[in-house]
Symmetry: D2
């Protein structure tokens, strides 16, 4: 029985708690959160205990930690967990600073513990099927990637202020998808952006709409377009063009109803937001984490992946701010 | 805490066990199956006990029974459960004999217990959304229904022999969908059928392909087409034409991948079979059952619905066998 | 140069005139219509002359007649044209009476002239592609056909009165599609119908909504559902299930625009009505007619096809009126 | 009756000849081509005469010229036609040199003649419907544009050598779509490209795959991705995100057949190439040209549009070659 400590009892913490509870041979032992009420409520729901970080790292019976607390706590928790010899599952991003993220990766490496970063999209059934079919050669060699990534609406400005900016907060996922699908590293990154949905976004030095173009070391191309607001919901698509065809990963819909009226023919909007769209992905990533722990195999989304995605986010931020092409 | 006894530890029993276990305030207490090993394995998985029917009906703590055993056991179990004052969830069909089904309905009524028949399709998110939107008037008054219902492949002949024939075994669901969506009862039923997929089906006096046309008391029309074999998988669609438009309920797909190659543009086949396609429906129907029990409200698919669907199956069987239009 | 006489300068006559004019080596020489102004206008547009039937049949230079006048004129014109040795293209139906239609077929046979009936759907690019791919074995042997055929709105009652009823006027096309796709003849026909869209339809002894089930001599099955009114436009689909899969023929749309808004995701309605949906089919059937004449090959939709479709329409009418299954 | 001279009897010249012939009140009078046999064949087909440019410009009866000859002839023909007072329809691009294109625009302006550049995509029914619906406010204000533009295969290297490079030859259309849809001019252009489909493309100093990101003066964003080779055919799509939703312009398909087999669910590939995909667009643009001439109204795609698109192509070429962001 692997005992698990969960840091963070918020929206994402609740998802992870439920998925931890579903794993055979795994028990949610502790919940830690600065919000004591939230921690208590979630702990009770799963027969776990509220505690603090020190107790977790001191408890020899805790085999793994799941970190879903705020981004500014990630690096410290990863390093402490590594030093305590715990296996680690941590939400993206590792940190807003590439240097600190690298220090985490170093600590993990030194400790020799498993560390998985929550790039949930890699576990989405649709995204994963594209990856699998691409690997099987269905469309030959990948040449070009087009990623469309749009949120239904922007988070509050208070969140944006501490988010590290749109490239580190939102596109970090898209940068990971780019690396995962194209199997190559960026040589140059160009990013531009605008404040188009809400002037408040600009007041904190951020943008809400971006266009990014990447050229890889092998000369492959990728374009990413994002927006903090899509009136029709959460838009999560990509398509990869290969020498023998194209694979598209489309949105998921709540139902398969189609309505035909005098006004037109209409279907459902995409699943509303990440909790709905990536429900299966969250379950599958946690299953994978504990499965890899059990078997002693390598996790599929490593802390190195987390560092690399952050490097791309940094490069894009620089490209946008300094209006120049960034070489990596 | 409602304690539950589950009859049947086969394919459908396992689904129900998992869904019972997921309900708050509900505990799977007993598993009963003629196959002792299957009963034991399933009981252990859920911390339940293997027992026999007598013990179940004698145990005052058992509040509800879930019947997922073979069809020939349904009637007896329903009647005994009703007499013992247990709430009942029973898989379709109630029985292969309309008379016995009516006797069950009578017993349930007399006992005043809740009894829900597992017409899972009514709980499918897509089917339920059509029903809801139709009720809201999106396409005006329903006028015509077209149901397409095809299995990926025929069951073994040994199964067919005891199935009651395609109309009672397979179309019973479609007849229930017809009644549920059209909100009217059949006035005339015409059914024809053929053995087109496997001559073995004919050797047991059954058909594997059917075409049914129904006219309701209000003059509404319905056509149902079924086949025991669709090479592309489980095909579960219907469309309802109304005075102001049409609503289509389409198939669900495992992923939203689309592939573009020199050979064409292709997407996923439908979810393979009922366990995949109706996974959500099975979960939702069980949640509804215990929710209704808890609140003391009426279940949405009653034993009367079970009797009515069976009457239609009988009428269709007669129409096909005697080559005549049957009036109800 | 083949000189052509066109009977009928109405809606369909204009379509045919344009398509005749587009054929190489073909000249529209005469237009004949009881409405002199319509005849004159259409003739002038194409550099043709207005004349009467006698003059047409007496003119040795006229090689072919295109009959797009009202249904009650078809039989007489076919017989006269056959006797005059002209090749014939005639709109469906041959006649409302099967006997007269057979007499026409006899006259055509005796005269040895080419005679093509305008079953335009066989020339629709989508429908024709299904037929071609079925013939190539893509889905194995055809087993079941589902036809959905709905008009955007009912014609005036004055039209309905002389139309021969919905089975002869509207389903005649669907019966032809059935024979063409299933490559088999009906053994039994069952038809039911209702007045659901407009009570006026009932006042002339007709119905506006029908459900038809056919079993062929080989035991294949077909269901046809029709309505005089689909609020979303002209709905012309069929699907054929075979031993190895299914082929669907879908509606055509004016554009490939998809709109995503807070209200949903919507696309175009089907092409509005037959002039739009079957524009290509009308052009292709006329090209085929003159191509076959030029090469001396058999036309693809013969007067025998016209007779057979009418026999099915008669059988369906009888089934509906007399509430019985009709054997053929 | 407007008499027309057509320069160019090649692939596109034939299309234009047919569409000119279809206009009421318009007559194709002359065909001019360096390939005498091609000119003769096309002229005969339309009852026109073969002649030379001098004769065309000297003939007072010629009201309009249609220029579909090779790109290097466009500028000279436009200037001569303008000086001769003829209305001009000219294929894109105006010229490969922005300076010469500007000189043409100047000549046209000075002469006061109508001059339309063949940006056929603006007349495509799907593209035009997006533009129209955007203008009607269906999705609020346009914020971001994503253009996907892929050919089924690269032209011969001999063609590429004189094409002006992929940005002037292929993306010129996409740059026009960008200006037309976003209703704003580019402030910065970034372009990158690669040789991914055929090394031969690189030997003539060109690329076959590009990624372009544009920021407009108002801060709107656009990304364009192109390839000379899509194994599945001609891929011509764009989508525009607005403050209230998104409009997508999709590919057109030859038929609406969908096939369901054990291998998957598949539909048609897009229309193969521009002659098929833009067949309607070519007809509609020519109808618009003569309609505007007849009414004395402004043509919708002016020579200024031609110059502007070329300026963008030049900026993109510079960005790609010099690896820098180009400001306009």
């Amino acid at each position: 029985m692997t005992e698990v400590a969960l840091f963070g009892a918020g929206r994402i913490g609740k998802i992870h708690a439920g998925n931890v509870a579903r794993q055979a041979g795994v028990k949610l032992r502790y919940v830690i959160d600065v919000d004591a009420a939230a921690a208590k409520s979630l702990a009770e729901q799963h027969g776990a205990q509220v505690t603090g970080a020190d107790a977790v790292f001191a408890d020899k019976n805790v085999g793994a930690v799941v970190i879903g607390s705020s981004t500014d706590t990630h690096a410290d928790l990863i390093i402490r967990a590594a030093q305590a010899g715990k296996a680690i599952f941590c939400e993206k991003p590792v940190d807003l600073s590439v240097d600190r993220a690298r220090a985490c990766a170093e600590a993990v490496k030194r400790a020799g513990v498993a560390c998985m970063i929550g790039f949930n999209r890699r576990f989405d059934p649709t995204f994963a099927a594209v990856k699998e079919r691409l690997a099987q050669g269905e469309i030959g060699d990948a040449e070009m990637l087009v990623v469309t990534s749009r949120d239904p609406g922007a988070p509050p400005v208070a969140y944006l202020e501490r988010s590290g900016g749109i490239f580190r907060d939102m596109l970090i996922h898209d940068f990971d998808v780019f690396r995962w699908i194209m199997q190559d590293e960026a040589a140059t990154v160009y990013a531009t952006g605008s404040v188009l949905t809400d002037p408040a976004v600009g007041t904190v030095g951020d943008v809400d709409s971006t266009a990014v173009a990447i050229r890889t070391k092998k000369g492959l191309l990728a374009v990413i377009n994002t927006s903090r607001r899509a009136a029709y919901g959460y838009d999560q698509r990509f398509e990869v063009l290969g020498s023998k065809g194209m694979l598209q990963a489309g949105n998921h819909k709540p139902t398969e109803v189609v309505s035909f009226t005098a006004a037109g023919v209409s279907g459902d909007k995409p699943e509303h937001f990440f909790l709905e769209r990536y429900r299966a992905a969250y379950a599958l990533e946690m299953a994978h984490f504990f499965d890899a722990l059990g078997k002693g195999t390598q996790v599929r989304t490593t802390i190195e992946d987390g560092v690399k995605a952050l490097e791309l986010a940094d490069a894009a931020t620089t490209s946008w701010r300094e209006k120049r092409i960034v070489e990596l």
